[in-house]
Symmetry: C2
Subunit: 355 residues, 2 copies
């Protein structure tokens, strides 16, 4: 993004805050020299860190907050008692127009609850969702919901599909992304009621979506569709299972190589390409999940990430702002609503009420 | 198993039946020289295959069946119209005492529906489940349900926990396996109602279980608990997501190595240990999911597996028979029921009804 822009950062959120947040901002500053950061957090902790990095200090403004939302704070408690927290104030800055978006590595549930309360959902959206990119064998796939809504009805899933499709257009530059509903079989009768109902709606013509029907767990990494839609419970389990499996694979490899003198020798030659593979699957590269469906840009960084990961989460926020995702979603929802009205009117004319 | 035993095989089930089934049986025969196989399927196809393998023929009996249950047959249709099928007849052989267990690589839903109808569930079990081992960073974990029941209530999840614990004792030789409920957070308030209710029951003392509470997707491969309990929808998605991720990782590695002359040279030295890693994560090694909670041993092989994978599925059936898993589950259920009655009686004495 070439124009100047301001982001608000929850400087106290995450396992290694505020250090990692500031080091992440320092990395992001190199990539986005026009960025300005509002740092919400404990001034006594933030000031010394900025004193040590003059270049970063030049593009940051500290807003002192006393309160911190911890990882074990319940969302309901956070919105009742956390209004003086770094998280609340950072979101409020977006609502007040002081920042174009917010990034936090803090408590996911609290962040979503606060964002919904402060920013409100986009008109026509019942439930915002957590959305992120996933590496696949052929590129990248958008997946949502990754944990905001444990139980979803058909309407929620359809909204996720619309938002995920807009996200894929923005982030992957696809003209007509394909969409699939995550299920345990591709046959029509499979899965739960909400899934079957959502599939029926997504097949209807007024949505004008490249809907490919049901996909299964292994289709995520196959890249069968550009957008994988699921409820937040299943999506969260799938995401963490995939992360765990990749980590196990990497660990097995490292242990095996360390165990053999010959393998260690061979690795001198093979290491550059192995490092490429590790980089391609690096969780930090995919750090930064967007809360879609809100009246503002909110990006959640993994709580345990490092500076590189946090900088990537800032990158996601910058992309969303510069590509104006939220306006695109709002336009798409308005188009669908208009076409639905049109379709219903046509139907009414074709089949006049019995006299 | 040193004593002679008979298994029935659905010779027509799976993508590459009957060839793979017979080649799998041939491999299993080498491991279990006392095995006898009842082959249910099309005699015209089976006979030539046995003619080509005299050693296998000596331990097989063909039972001709005309009908085949295809992959797209709905379970309800299979049990109404499939009573002359190789699958039905193979299960019936167990019910009739002609075989100690059955292995099929056919349609999972049809196999479960038929097995429930023919064998019935164990007394005290509401819903049988699909159970399998999973590789972890520290060993192996038992996971269930992997797809038999899309939606589960608390009672189902508790039964899965009891059956999974027995399975872990049998298969992993653990005295007191630890059990976790798959959720999207480890805090008490997380997840769906059935999960929270099941956790409360599993914590109660009369179950006498090493219950560790909620675990998350990445805990599966971490090996945080010995038994991961979940509903069939989530379990199926998690299993397939993990398989897909491991395949993607392996493919990225292969492609990267092929792309570099230096890496190919290095691989000459590193290959033996890499092959070890691949073998450790080989899906065929974990082939063979047990249908737990039935009045008989039913093992489902992956439909697309090869002879090695099918032989491993036969191995799972042999283990279950020789370790008498079903009796252990029945005993455990009886013990729990007795302790519950005892606990209720003690409670009634301690708190007499108001007069």
């Amino acid at each position: 993004m070439s124009a100047a822009f301001t982001l608000s950062l929850d400087a106290m959120g995450g396992d290694h805050a505020p250090q990692i947040v500031l080091r992440g901002a320092a990395l992001a500053r190199e990539r986005y020299p026009n960025a300005h950061f509002l740092l919400f957090g404990d001034e006594a902790k933030l000031k010394p860190l900025l004193l040590a990095d003059k270049a970063l200090a030049a593009c940051c403004t500290i807003h002192h907050t006393d309160q911190v939302i911890t990882g074990d704070t319940k969302p309901s408690q956070a919105i009742r008692q956390g209004r003086q927290s770094s998280m609340w104030k950072a979101i409020e800055a977006v609502k007040n127009g002081e920042a174009a978006g917010v990034v936090s590595a803090g408590n996911t549930g609290a962040l979503m609850a606060m964002a919904k309360l402060i920013m409100r959902a986009l008109p026509g959206i019942d439930r915002p969702a957590i959305c992120s990119l996933f590496p696949t064998r052929v590129g990248e796939t958008v997946m949502l919901d990754l944990g905001a809504n444990s139980q979803c009805d058909a309407r929620n899933l359809v909204e996720f599909a619309v938002m995920g499709e807009c996200f894929a257009r923005c982030m992957l530059g696809l003209e007509r992304p394909s969409v699939g509903l995550l299920n345990i079989g591709s046959e029509d009768g499979k899965g739960t009621g909400p899934l079957r109902d959502a599939a029926q709606v997504l097949r209807s013509s007024h949505l004008d979506m490249e809907f490919k029907g049901f996909v299964e767990g292994d289709d995520i990494t196959k890249g069968t569709v550009d957008v994988v839609v699921t409820d937040g419970f299943t999506g969260n389990v799938a995401l963490k299972t995939a992360e765990g499996t990749a980590k196990m694979f990497a660990e097995f490899l490292k242990t095996a190589i360390r165990s053999s003198w010959l393998a260690k020798f061979g690795m001198i030659f093979a290491k550059p390409v192995l490092s490429q593979v590790m980089a391609r699957l690096d969780a930090r590269r995919y750090n930064g999940a967007l809360f879609v469906g809100l009246n503002g840009v909110v990006v959640k960084s993994h709580g345990g990430t490092d500076a590189v990961g946090f900088a990537n989460a800032i990158g996601v926020a910058v992309d969303m702002i510069s590509r104006d995702l939220n306006s695109r979603i709002a336009e798409e929802l308005a188009r669908i609503a208009a076409e639905q009205v049109q379709a219903e009117a046509t139907e009414a004319v074709a089949e006049p009420a019995p006299q």
